[in-house]
Amino acid sequence: MTGLKLDRRTWFVIVLLAALALLPLVAIATDNDYQIAQFRRILIFAIAAVSLDLILGYGGMVSLGHAAFFGVGAYIVAILNWHAAREVPLFGMMLGTHNVLVTWTAAVVLSGALAGLIGLVSLRTTGIYFIMITLAFAQMVYFFFVSLRAYGGDDGLRFPGDTVILGLIDTENDVAFYYLVFGILCAVLYATRRLVNSRFGMVVQGCRENERRMKALGFATFRYKLACFALAGALAGLAGALFAANESYISPSIMHWTRSGDLIVMVVLGGMGTLIGPVVGALAFLFLEKTLPDYTEHWMVVFGPILLLLVLFARRGIFGWFLPKEDRHGGSH
């Protein structure tokens, strides 16, 4: 650990977060206020991508179903708000509410619990089987919401949300809501950074590096992987809750398996196992997804090879360019 190494990484994080902090101010100064909701969405997907990095980059668990937890988080918020607005009972009780403390907590807890259940089954497999089984579960969740006619089915659900959060932040105020999301992203980055470097985080990384060795050392690996998987699901649910609050409209398409694929692309593009990388990945992905189609309708033909090259030559993704050479492949940060 040389001083230089630490500096580069820290500088990268500082510059990135400072840029994100200034973004709405720049937008206002340049009469681009209308874009702030779009920027918020980027930060929200960044949170989802960071949560995926926990299992993908640190746990070595290639889940192709992560968007399901994002979607469930979003739907919980939407459904609770919808019931509150219509004063329709839920499970025979007046459970609907606009209170974000309740709706967001419910989103986090329930998507985490769902991830726990899905993990309980899928973590018994590894490799390609794990990819397929997480995909299958996610599609089940997707079709479950498609079939819920009461909540709009395929067409999705429009709902009036709470505009004042914790009596403090008005979601109608674009800038204030942006800083709330930004604050949550920073908190998630800090907490997950602590997590991956903790004893628990080392166990999870050990399972990625060599699970057989972990067992031979005496670790009951399953429970740690499961805890990590559930936690990542809960964080994705949090991102989903923010997404619902941001859009006031959601549909099952947000949890389609291709959305899980997008999240993987964000993580890989930005740099797996770096936490900050996926934030850059989300930025880059959503930016490219928006701008490339302006140049060519076959933008996927361009994007695909770029991604392939990244995977082949820079396992650390975009973030890796800012790391010293020996850190660009393998290992953990």
Binding site: M1, S198, R199, M202, V203, N210, R212, G218, F219
Partner: protein, 253 residues
């Protein structure tokens, strides 16, 4: 004194079949506390398969394994490890992306516990780092603590794996050909390390190098086609007619 003579590890009537192949053929074996017990035998004799059953990676078709007075035959790998069975593999199993020190710290953590602590940085935890550094020193890798395992020489990786096994403070070490693939210098260093461990640890040692085996082992068991054809002190094994015929060959020892 009954307890003193009882083996730390007692294998009784162990059988393992792979289809039609009898890889372990009614093996009974006792490892005494403090001894180095070598298992020798030609390629394919079933040595690795035997160790895998002791460690719990392979379940036997019949027979029992008792460790420190408990029947462990049905226990998982990690449960047996927590009881004190540590191992090295014929093909090195380490955390390649971790530094040498992180590798051993992981092993220290295995017995120190608190694996759900998710806030305090593990790399600043003296309860993990200090013992890990001491063990690296003990196996002669003190100067290589901050090198990524993937960048260590082959021999160093094998030393590291033994360091990790030691870090779990095992009661029994299962070493599957610790010199496999090593050059002359590396082998000598490993032999010196094993000699240092002699008397301090209980070791079941699989090794092809007869010079090492006869120099280090307190007792030797000879495995041929899955069967133990002889067990005894090095001198007895050297003199054993069956062993000479089946394995050592004329003038080979």
């Amino acid at each position: 004194m009954a307890a003193a003579t009882e083996s730390l590890l007692a294998v009784d009537g162990l059988v393992k079949r792979f289809g039609g192949l009898l890889a372990t053929d009614n093996v009974s074996l006792g490892i005494r506390e403090g001894e180095i017990h070598a298992i020798i035998g030609p390629n394919g004799a079933g040595k690795t398969t035997l160790i895998a059953q002791l460690a719990g990676e392979i379940l036997p078709n019949a027979g029992t394994i008792r460790f420190a007075g408990t029947d462990v035959t049905g226990l998982t790998v990690d449960a047996r490890a927590r009881l004190g069975i540590a191992r090295s593999y014929q093909i090195t199993q380490i955390f390649k992306g971790f530094t040498a020190l992180d590798n051993v710290a992981m092993a220290v953590q295995a017995q120190d516990g608190h694996n759900f602590r998710a806030w305090a940085p593990a790399r600043a935890d003296e309860n993990l780092r200090k013992p890990a550094a001491a063990i690296l020193e003990r196996v002669g890798l003190g100067a290589r603590a901050d090198v990524r395992a993937v960048n260590l020489a082959h021999g160093e990786q094998r030393q590291l794996e033994i360091a990790m096994a030691l870090a779990t403070r095992p009661r029994l070490l299962l070493l599957d050909e610790p010199m496999a693939g090593m050059g002359k210098d590396e082998s000598e260093r490993m032999t010196a390390l094993l000699a240092k461990l002699k008397g301090e640890e209980t070791i079941l040692l699989i090794e092809h190098d007869m010079d090492v085996v006869f120099a280090l082992a307190d007792r030797i068991s000879v495995l041929v086609y899955g069967r133990v054809i002889a067990t005894g002190k090095p001198d007895e094994i050297r003199a054993n007619v069956d062993v000479r015929a089946a394995y050592l060959g004329d003038g080979d020892a």
